[in-house]
Every structure is written in structure tokens, then in C-alpha cells.
Homo-oligomer: 768 residues x 2
């Protein structure tokens, strides 16, 4: 379900510093030594990579996608099972040790759903998207589920409508200033601004009885591009499906937290499963949203709330009144994960895991099959290398997940089921999802920043002939020149200097989450995008093969690029002499994040002081237009000083330890004894586990990483150092102080492991 | 025609630092001494102002507006002459020495105009706006001129359309990057981004054969508010008229530059009048624009170019092809300026001039009559004071201009006709124009900043009961808190501290221009606004009495406020012991402007260096989507260091001289001999003339102020220190160096006059 490389998501992620422009050495510089490899190993690895590349054929990707996207492939659909069987057969054919692991999860499917405006006029929403000229699969309406959002509550409600913009916390502040409550009302929220699932969650918390989510044409309809089939953007009847399970609290089967949802697993009931919403939630098209919004009265919305419908947007409530019915089939459904391995020759208990899901909302051509077929191409190529006699040093585990769309079900249940093994053996999890024409995006564990930069520097962009890294640098620099965004100033400076560029941090939205944030594996998410016209078909029946070959990646050149990129990362990690992690990048990033926390608290303090002064002086009342009912913001308490000292000290130590390890490695890698390197690698392979706290984050113990988490109030968007950051944002000062200490401690533990590795790296007897 | 206090204009002006939030002493502080008055004079002045206020009656304003807006009152309309006669009669009735001064100007009126789409479908634009329910005057279509823009060329052309966004210079850069030329094409430009007249001027310079300007609903139609008559915003058939004479080169009658357009004046021909455009130009409604824009093909527009029509915006050219016909009656038309005076008792040759125009585009209720009726109320009140025995020390000249809308005709011709007298005698010109509910806006000569702040502090806002100044401060502070804009950070800081706030600088768009920028009088433009819903009826037939009493200033409370504000400024200037000018404000402002020029050149230099590097590295090509035809920007030369030293020195001297005068005045004002003060005042009354250079600005010698000018590429928007600033912006380095010297010299001259005034102020024999 990842949108992290879609065009609109890219803009969002840039704004929140989670995108990933990368950059390599200057064009004419000699190629730097391959990171993690001694000179002789490097030579062998480059030969291996050339052989790997030679096996990649875009026609394969095209054929596999056409086959797999030929019928609806959501969880439980016959074609989804057929796809799992197809993938399994392919892995076996290519020489992998492959099997299907099945789980049984609660996944609701609609039995009876409807949305109808009952006053001031009547209008019934169409919840099917219907045929589009030239889109062959769009006629298969009978096999599709209707457009719906999974894990909304059952309900039958009729109430006045309130338009809540994107339904995010700041939007409720605006409503409150306008004296509007959603209690007992049905909210209409537009997509955007934060993860879909937060919209009904926040609506429910504010007392709403139902939630409708629509796609405004400003965002991915005619406001952005010509609509499908003339162009690639969302047509008036197009709907974005999606999950609204409370995944920022915990993804996976709602009934089996922390354990695999095997047939006999001990289960909660739906009523006791805290991640399932209580109110009904449904998505609609902008064609269906327009009459509802056009009939609303009440205050005019602020400028930022306006979309591109040809109406004057109001907040309500009413006179628009809507009747929503949602009844689901809540029975357990089977999940089919395909798991394939090639045993490592030297370190079989160090696992390099690569995954992409195979379930879609309808046909899923772009999301997820464009990524899945790239992964299959990698698996085919690796199979060929193995048949030709090669063996990886470490074990490769290739996984094709089921049930990602509803709640990262397949990956989470598998990760929970194999938690002990994975915590011991997992070295790295490499994820991809939808993929299309454009630029490399990468985000994840920051010790991987340099290896990703190196790989991007080694690969040639198929459209321009420059390296993938050079193209990223060019985008960052030209966007900065054109002032259309394109990365923070640190990236622009790095691009100008030819240094490594920053990779983003991961929140959620695809299958890396259980590995990175629950188990503590190093993880990275990669994909190409930014030039396709695909925002408007995201999670729609028009995310089809026919759409993809016109607007996604027509000749599958970027599918091949994804295979080259992810394949290299898997092969280099599997074969490295020293695992390719550079800790200066990690410690610099932590330093930056702690700096952000200081600024966050300082800004909040200043803002609270200003608010206090303005409330006392009556400035809001003096400035307000008395013909409108706009209230001052509520009073806030003062913002105390936060106990940052431990965190500051931990970062300082981490920077020292990281610098020492990176230096020791550079000095001694080529001369060290193999056994010594094995000891170092054993430490590095596990080092990210030290960033976990067993008690997890406040209110969501499943999330154990103290470094990376999806935001409780952003959903997909990342919160780094989340225990501290979210406490400050939420004005919970004791919790901020407490988590500053806990976060400092995990960084200290991480540094201590690094120090051990440094000592091993420097062991007497090692020659330079 | 001023929009400077309309809501959208206010936003624009904030962005260009030309708005005028003001601020007085803290609420509870003792009232400061009245600036420019000795204690005994202050007492008398306060009594006078209280009597003045007591004469102001909102019912008068309402009745006068209803009468004057009852029929179309454009130049040449019978009701326009009737209004001039009505105003004249009123002035006489109130005891003023009043007369009508008539000029004869070339003012084109439409004989035959039409716009028709001929391919790919046909559509004929309606150039009348038609009746609206509840708007009584909207039925008088037969007496109106059709919707048109004055001073477009005659023509009959058919060509493909190019959509040029707002048609500003940056828009043509975007078109060029997309490989699109407007040569031989008809451009469609949306309103906004800069003055209307620049759109056809730039289109003509780029080779277009016609120009259509429309009002996008995003800006003042349904995208902003409910449309008239349900709300106040522009309905689909509403059109914004306006002038497209090349006023940034020279306003006034195109045939009589620099001289009054008397009956026998020597005239240019239309062909030799450089300010008249050659290509036809017409305005249309968004109802008529939609089919033209919907049919366009070509590249997608960038996000900032999108409006709120329910279409995908493209650039073209074609397949939309349009046929435009424009034939005008170019005969001379009469102008009726009403000029009324009350002779000064002590200094009859020091004139305080107050003006507001009386001609409208159709009924002109808001623009200009809302300001004109406030001025009439001032005149009536002053007449009463005179009848009761009072006399101003200096002469009051009240003026009601004709022909402002087409080209500031009445004020410019009068100023040119009386240039010698005005240069000798003019102390201050106080302008107003449209006025409505909301906040005080003021902009002008910066030595007047303090007196305007004081007056705002003395007046009570009718809606909130706080002072006008406190309300402005509250808006600046709460907007900054809410992050909705509201002034630059200097203003926010000033508001928080209770200091004076900055007033903006004047560009053009109303009758102050000939006084401030051609003759060199101190000038100020004031008006209330920001809470009315009137953007969408600006220059439309729906700018009517019925609209105004619903959406403008329903009970004329802010009309009375304008009378109180402008009246005080006139009366204080007329009666002051020392003219109320504080030179520290002027010198601080000049220091700020020179700082901006340094930054402008430095930023340009850095940007040119970046561009050079990116062009050499091929970054634009590497970053571009190869399926789109986007070109790199054209190469630019290096930006040399500008010779700023003279300007820096002049500002430093000016600051010293200003500080010395302000101190000397504070120390000696109350003890000085009257003859001494008269000598000081004689210097101050003329000091702004020293800011003029007789050769004027490059390419537009009519504009002689080296401090304030409308931008050649912004139209209404101000360029301060324009000789230098526009040369830097235009990369004309020799010219920048030359005008840095000229501008430094006028500031030195100003400082020299101040030094003389300081010496007089300190003359021996004066006691403290």
C-alpha cells in the first residue's frame, strides 16, 4: 500500500523530511571501493552483479504483471490464491527452497454498504467504479469487492454532515475555533494530510457517528491531470479504497497481537480488539461527494480547506444529512505468504530478507505487482547464479506477502510467528511495493545510507543515461533552483558538493514495519517513481495493467531498475566481508533528530507564551470580524524545560563511538583475519536490536523501536525518536522526560556494541 | 480604482510589504502629546476634532451614495456630470470656495466589441453582466457601457489561444521553458499577480495579437465565497473592467503628457501616444472563460497556474481558436474635477490637499463613492466649523476627481496644469478611494508614519470598541500566531512591544500618483477594509448600492471612520505648529530599502552562479521527465558588485540628520518663536521635492521620484528606490550604478534640507 514514491506522496514526504534523494561521488571521480568488500571480493562481486543484471528481462516483468493483475486479487479472492501458487511455482522452478505459509486472519468484507444523502435533496453514492474505455479489466465489476475501507465498524446511521477538511488534528482545532462540534454528526473528510485511518479514528474520538472519505479533484483528479482514460488521473467515479485499522497502534491481525495467526492461535474477539474502529467508514468518489458538499451551509472554510470542486466549500453542519449503512462479513480469511530461501554458504544463520506483497485492492497492477514482478526477476536471476554454481555467504530469504493492504497482515503474522528466529538471525529486511517511472526513493535505517548511495551511483538511469544518483542530485538542485521544493537545504548542499545524500526515515505503509519497528531489524524501503501519473488510481479498480502500461512504466525499464537496485543491496549484504553499515551516518542523523527535539520544545514554549499574552490582551477578539463566530484558541499551560541532558550526552557518545568504528574498519578491514571479521559481523548484524525497548512506545507496546515509528497522529508519516517527540507534541512533559531517558539509554547501548566491535576490529595482530 | 484595502489586494500588499498595519502606544499608557502641536494648540485642536466628529452622520453618507450610484457614472455618462454638479453644489452650500475644472481627454468607449470561440466548438462571450435578483441598478443595462478594458487597441483578429496564467514576466519564463511562444496568438490571462494593464502590454511585447483577461473563480468567485446575490462574490457572468493604458510609463491623458489637457492644449495623436496599446484587449467572465480553457490542449500548467474551474488547465496553443473584435470611439471626452478651497488664515500658500475620485466603471458604489461620500462628510463638517468661526492656519483644498478609472485622468491633468503652484505650495496630498468594513490601511510618505499612528491610536473602532491601532496590532499579532500572514516580522515585533508600526510605500492605482511621484508632494493613501466581501464586484456592474449595504459597510460606520481619519490628518496638518513629520521613520525606512537592494543583488549573484553550474553539469536535462518537453532556463551572465557606497553613505548621513532634527524639534518646539517655526515649516513643506530628479526614471521621465514608483513590471505594486531596484532586477548594471548615485544624491539633498531645518530649530534665543 506504500505511496512513498507516488508524486503527491513524494511532495508530502519531502515536506516531512522522509524522502530520499541520494547522491554519489562527482561524475568524473574514480569509482570508490565497494563498501564492505575487500579488493578481491569486490572484483568477484562486480562480476556477479553483471551476471545478475544480464538475467533481467523487462518482458518477463510485463508478462507476470499482466497475468497476476488479470483478475481481482484481494485477500480471499480466488485469483489471489492463484497468484501465490504462481509465485511459489516460479520460485521452485528457479531453484529456491520455497513454500507457502498460511495464516488465518479477521478480514472484514462488505455485505451491505450504502451512502445516501437524504436532505436537502437526495443522492445515492455509487460504490462501484465501472468500465472505462480501453481498460480491459475494468469490466470485471462482478468479481470485485465494492469500494470500501476495511475495518470500519458495522453501523446504520443518519446524521447531519460536517466537512472536516482532511480530518487531521489541526482541522479539529479550526472547527473548534468556528464553534463546530462533530458530536453525533457524520464527517466528510478529503483524502490527504495524513493517513486515511486517522480520519475516522479522530472523528470517532470527537464523537462522530460515521465517516465518509472522498478524493478531491484538486489532489488527484482533474485538478492535477487529465482524467482516465484521457489521462492518468482519477475520473469522477474513481474511489480510493484502503485500510482504516488502527495500525499506528498495531498492524497485523487484530485478533492475535504479538503471535502468529495460525489456525489454532488464541484469539481476541472483535469487540476486545482495540485496533478495530466502532463507527462506519466508507470512501466515495468526487462525483458522489460533490452534491453532499455543495448542499452544506455553515461557516466558509479557510483557504487551505478548499478543493477543486466547482462549489463554495462550507463546514456545515447540515443541512446535508446522510444515511450510511455498513455491514461486513467478519469471518476469518486465509493468507498465503510465499517464503523462499537460498541457504548461505558461510553464515547460514544470518538472513538477508527481501519482500514485496502480492495482494491488491482490486487488480493491483501498480500496487503491489509492479514491485512484486521486479522481486520475481531478482529471484529468477539469483536462481540462475545459483544454478551456475554461486552461493551467497549469508542466507537469502525472498518473501511475497499476502494481506498487506488490509493491515500488513502477512508480513506481521510471519514476523510474529518467527520472532525468535528473526531476532537472532535477521540482518536486513529490504522492502519494495508499487514502482514506476522516475527517481529512486529510499528510506530506512540510517547506517545503510552509504551503501544505498553507492549502489545508486553504480546504476545508470534508463531514460537519461546518467547515474541514478546523479539524476537524484540533479533533481534536488534544479528543484531548489526552480523553488518547487526538492529536499531540505542539507540535501541541496550535499548535492552541490557531491557528498552522500540523506535517506529518509520510515514511518509505516508497507511490510517493513514489523521488521524495523517491532523486531528491530535494519530495514530499507526502495522504489522508483515520481514521473508516473498514478496518484488518481491508487487503491482503485483503475490500478490496472492497461493503466500501468500507459502511465506507470510503459516498458518496465524501471521495474528492471528496481530489481537491479534491490538485488544489489541483497547480494552485497549477503556477500560483504564486513556488513555495509556506516555508523557516522546513523549518529549524524540522531544528532539532527535531537536537535529537532530541542527546537520543537523551544518553539512550543515561545508559542505558548505568545498565546498567553494574546489571550490576556484580548487580541483575538479585537482582530476578529464580529459578524463571524470565530473564537480564540483555548488557553495552554506553560512549556517547561525538557530533560534533554541524557539524550545530548548519548548522542555525543554515539558520535564518538561511530567515528571510532568507522575509522577502525577503514584501517583494518583489508588486513583482518576472517574469524575476527565474523565476530564483528555478528555484532553488527544484531546492533539494531539494541534500539528496541521491551516496553515499547506509550500506549502502543507493539512498537518497540525508540528511533523510528509511524506517528500516532500522522499514520504513515514517520516520527523519529517517537517516545520523546510525540510526548512533546502532546504536551505530556513527564512522559517526554521519561522517554528522553529511555531513548538515551538505547543509544548508549548501541554505542556500547559499537565500542565492542571497534575493539574487535582493532585486535592486535591485524595488519593494515 | 484602488484595491489596496480589498481582501485579496491586502494579501498581495502584505506580501510586497506595502500594507499598512499601524500601532499606537499601549492601551493603558497616558495619551502622548499630539505630534506637531504645542500644549495649548493641542487643547484647541482636540476641541476642534470633537466638534468635527459631531458633524459626521452615517445617514448622510448613505443618502449621498444611493443618489450618486443610482445610474452609470463613467467618464462621459450624463450621471457623472450630474454627480460633479451635485458635489459642487454641496461644497458651495457648506461654504467652500468651489468650482468645476474641466479638461478634455482622449477616452475610448466601445463601438463594436466581441469575443467568439471558433474552434474546436463555438462559444460567444456575453459582455454584459445583466440583472441579479435584489440588485436594483443591475437592470439598467441599456445605460451601461459593455464590459471592456479602456485603451486596448482597435483590432479584428482570429488566432489560437495560449493560457498565460496571470501574464506576468515569470509566467512567460515558464512558457519559454515549455517551448511555447505567444507570437501570433491570443493570450488568455487570469486576473491577479500584478496590474491588469501589464498583461496585454507583456503579451504585445511577446508578439501576441490579442489579449483576453478573465476572473478565475478561485480568486474572487465561488472558490472564495458564495456568489452574488447569495453571497458577495463574483457570479459566473461578472466581469472586471479596468484600464490597460500603460500607466507605469505615464498616467493621465495619453495625448497631453506633462501639461493640462485644456481645450486648446497641444496634443499628440493616438498613434504617437506611447501609452496606448496596439492589440485588442477585452475582459470576460469565468462563465465565458470556461469553454475556451476547457478546450485547450498542450502542456499541463504548473500547480500555481491552476484556478478553480472544474477543468484540467493546459497552456495551449490551441485547439481553442478565438475571434476578437474591438473598435472604439476615440474622441475627446470632458472631465469634471470639483475643486473646493478654504483659505488658510496664517499660511494661505501652504496647501493641504484632500482627494477622492467620483467616476466609476458602472455604478461605482464602493469604488469610488464609498470614499467620496466620506470626503463629502469631512467637507460638510469643516464647512460647519468655518461657519462657527474657525479658520485653518493653512489652506485646505478638497478635490473630487473625474476620470480616475481610465488613467488617473482628472488628478493628473489638474496636477500637470497647476504644477508650478503645487510644487511651491503643496504640503500634503491625502487620498482615499473605495472604503469598507474592517481595518485601517495607510501607505505613503514615511515621514508621516508617526502622525498616522497617533491618529489611529486616538480613534475607536466601531465594531470592537478598541482603538483602530490596537485592532491593527491585534490582527498582526493573531495572524502571526495563526500563521495566516499579517505583516512582516518587524511589524509583529513592533505590535508586541507597543511601538509605532510601519506604513507601506505607495505604488499606483489611485490619484496620489501625480502628487507623490510626479510633483514630489508628501502623500498618503488611507482607507478601511478587509472584512467586506467585495473583491468579486470590483469594477463590475454589481459594485452597486444594494451590494454595498449588504457586503460593504452596511451602516456606513467605516465611512464615518474614514472621515474621522482623513479629516484629522487634514486638520492636524493644516493647524500644526510644526508640520507633523518624523524623519527618523523616513530614514529608517530608507535604510531598510537599501538593505533590501544589497540582498537583492547578492541573491541574484548567488542564483546566477548556481544556474551557471547547473547548466554546465546538465542537471536540468538529467532531472527532466524526457516524455515532457521542458527546457533549461536560458544562461545568464554573472552579477557584478554594485556601486552601493554612495547610497550607503547617504543613508548613514540621512539617519544622522533625521535624528538631529527630531531631537532638536522635541527640545525646542514649545519654546521657539513663531517666526522661527514658520521658517522651519517652510523647509519641511517642501522637503519632499528634494527626492525628485528632474530627468525622472529610465524610460519614464514623467516619474520623477527616486524613492517611490509603481513597478514597470508590477503596475500597481510599488518599487521603492526604483531607479536602482528595477535596474538590478533587469540586470542593467550600468544603470544600477548610475541610479545608485542619483538616488544617493537626492537623499543627500533631503538631509541637507533637514540640517538647515535643524539649525533653524536650534537658533540661539530659543528657550526650552
Amino acid at each position: 500500500m506504500s505511496r512513498f514514491i507516488s508524486r503527491s506522496a513524494a511532495r508530502f514526504l519531502l515536506a516531512t523530511a522522509a524522502l530520499v534523494p541520494l547522491m554519489a561521488a562527482a561524475a568524473e571521480a574514480p569509482r570508490p571501493a565497494m563498501f564492505g568488500f575487500r579488493p578481491d571480493s569486490e572484483q568477484a562481486q562486480r562480476t556477479l552483479e553483471a551476471k545478475f543484471d544480464a538475467q533481467l528481462n523487462p518482458t518477463d516483468l510485463r508478462n507476470w504483471m499482466q497475468q497476476m493483475s488479470s483478475a481481482p486479487n484481494h485477500v480471499g479472492a480466488p485469483h489471489n490464491k492463484a497468484n501465490a501458487d504462481f509465485i511459489l511455482a516460479k520460485f521452485k522452478e528457479w531453484g529456491w527452497d520455497a513454500r507457502i505459509e498460511t495464516f488465518y486472519v479477521m478480514y472484514p468484507t462488505p455485505k451491505n454498504i450504502s451512502i445516501e444523502m437524504v436532505t436537502p435533496t437526495t443522492h445515492k453514492a455509487t460504490l462501484t467504479e465501472g468500465p472505462v474505455a480501453g481498460d480491459r479489466t475494468s469490466t470485471q465489476v462482478a468479481d470485485e469487492l465494492p469500494a470500501y475501507t476495511a475495518f470500519g465498524g458495522d453501523g446504520d446511521v443518519t446524521a447531519d454532515v460536517v466537512y472536516v477538511n482532511q480530518g487531521m488534528p489541526a482541522d479539529y482545532e479550526v472547527l473548534a475555533r468556528n464553534g463546530i462540534s462533530v458530536k453525533g454528526k457524520i464527517v466528510v473528510a478529503r483524502y490527504g494530510g495524513g493517513w486515511r485511518g486517522l480520519k475516522p479514528k479522530l472523528a470517532q474520538e470527537h464523537g462522530a457517528v460515521g465517516c465518509i472519505i472522498y478524493s478531491d479533484p484538486a489532489d488527484d483528479g482533474y485538478g492535477s491531470e487529465e482524467t482516465y482514460p484521457k489521462g492518468g488521473a482519477r475520473p469522477p467515479q474513481g474511489v480510493q479504497r484502503g485500510s482504516v485499522l488502527d495500525m499506528p497502534v498495531r498492524p497485523g491481525d487484530p485478533l492475535t497481537p504479538n503471535i502468529g495467526a495460525t489456525r489454532d492461535a488464541k484469539r481476541l474477539t472483535r469487540e476486545t480488539a482495540e485496533t478495530v474502529l466502532k463507527i462506519p467508514v466508507l470512501p466515495i468518489s468526487y462525483g458522489d461527494a460533490q452534491p453532499l458538499l455543495a448542499a452544506l451551509a455553515g461557516p466558509l472554510v479557510p483557504e487551505a480547506w478548499r478543493g477543486a470542486l466547482p462549489i463554495t466549500y462550507h463546514m456545515g453542519p447540515g443541512p446535508t444529512k446522510v444515511h450510511i449503512v455498513e455491514q461486513s462479513d467478519w469471518s476469518l480469511k486465509p493468507l498465503y505468504n510465499v517464503i523462499a530461501t537460498i541457504q548461505g554458504a558461510e553464515f547460514p544463520d544470518q538472513w538477508v530478507i527481501r519482500g514485496n506483497h502480492h495482494d491488491g485492492w482490486v487488480f493491483g497492477a501498480n500496487d503491489p505487482l509492479s514491485g512484486n514482478v521486479a522481486m520475481l526477476a531478482e529471484a529468477q536471476a539469483i536462481g540462475k547464479l545459483v544454478k551456475d554454481g554461486w552461493k551467497p555467504k549469508r542466507t537469502l530469504v525472498y518473501t511475497s506477502w499476502d494481506g498487506e493492504e488490509p493491515a500488513l497482515l502477512g508480513s506481521t503474522e510471519w514476523a510474529e510467528q518467527h520472532a525468535t528466529d528473526l531476532a537472532k538471525k535477521g540482518v536486513l529486511y529490504i522492502n519494495s511495493d508499487g514502482n514506476s517511472r522516475g527517481f529512486l526513493g529510499a528510506a530506512g535505517t540510517h547506517s545503510l545510507q552509504h551503501v544505498v548511495n553507492q549502489i545508486a551511483g553504480d546504476l545508470t538511469d534508463p531514460q537519461t543515461g546518467v547515474s541514478v544518483l546523479e539524476r537524484l542530485r540533479a533533481r534536488v538542485e534544479t528543484n531548489a533552483y526552480d523553488r518547487t521544493g526538492g529536499g531540505d537545504s542539507a540535501n541541496v548542499e550535499a548535492a552541490a558538493k557531491g557528498g552522500d545524500m540523506l535517506i529518509g526515515a520510515l514511518g509505516s505503509g508497507s511490510d517493513y514495519t514489523p521488521f524495523l519497528q517491532h523486531l528491530g531489524l535494519a530495514a530499507i524501503n526502495i522504489g522508483y517513481g515520481g514521473e508516473a501519473v498514478n496518484d488518481g488510481i491508487y487503491h482503485s479498480a483503475y490500478d490496472s495493467f492497461d493503466h500501468y502500461i500507459r502511465f506507470g512504466d510503459p516498458n518496465f525499464a524501471y521495474g528492471v531498475m528496481l530489481a537491479k537496485t534491490a538485488g544489489r543491496l541483497a547480494l552485497r549484504t549477503a556477500n560483504a566481508d564486513v556488513l555495509p553499515m556506516r555508523f557516522g551516518d546513523f549518529s549524524d542523523t540522531m544528532g539532527r533528530y535531537v536537535g529537532e527535539l530541542h527546537k520543537l520544545a523551544d518553539d512550543q514554549r515561545k508559542r505558548a507564551e505568545t498565546l498567553d499574552r494574546l489571550l490576556k490582551s484580548g487580541a483575538f477578539k479585537s482582530a476578529a470580524d464580529p459578524t463571524k463566530q470565530v473564537l480564540p484558541p483555548p488557553a495552554e499551560g506553560a512549556v517547561p524545560a525538557i530533560e534533554f541532558a541524557k539524550l545530548d550526552n548519548a548522542v555525543a557518545r554515539l558520535k564518538r563511538s561511530a567515528g571510532e568504528f568507522d575509522s577502525a574498519r577503514a584501517a583494518n578491514q583489508n588486513g583482518a583475519a576472517p574469524a575476527q571479521l565474523a565476530q564483528v559481523n555478528a555484532l553488527l548484524a544484531n546492533i539494531d536490536r539494541s534500539l528496541m525497548d521491551p516496553k515499547g512506545l506509550p500506549g502502543r507496546p507493539w512498537y518497540k523501536s525508540m528511533i523510528y515509528a509511524p506517528g500516532l497522529q500522522t499514520g504513515y508519516g514517520v516520527k523519529t525518536l517517537p517516545g520523546v517527540r510525540e510526548a512533546i507534541e502532546g504536551k505530556r512533559w513527564d512522559e517526554a522526560n521519561q522517554y528522553a531517558g529511555i531513548t538515551a539509554q538505547v543509544l548508549e547501548n548501541y554505542a556500547a556494541t559499537l565500542d565492542k566491535a571497534t575493539a574487535l576490529m582493532k585486535k592486535p595482530g591485524v595488519t593494515n
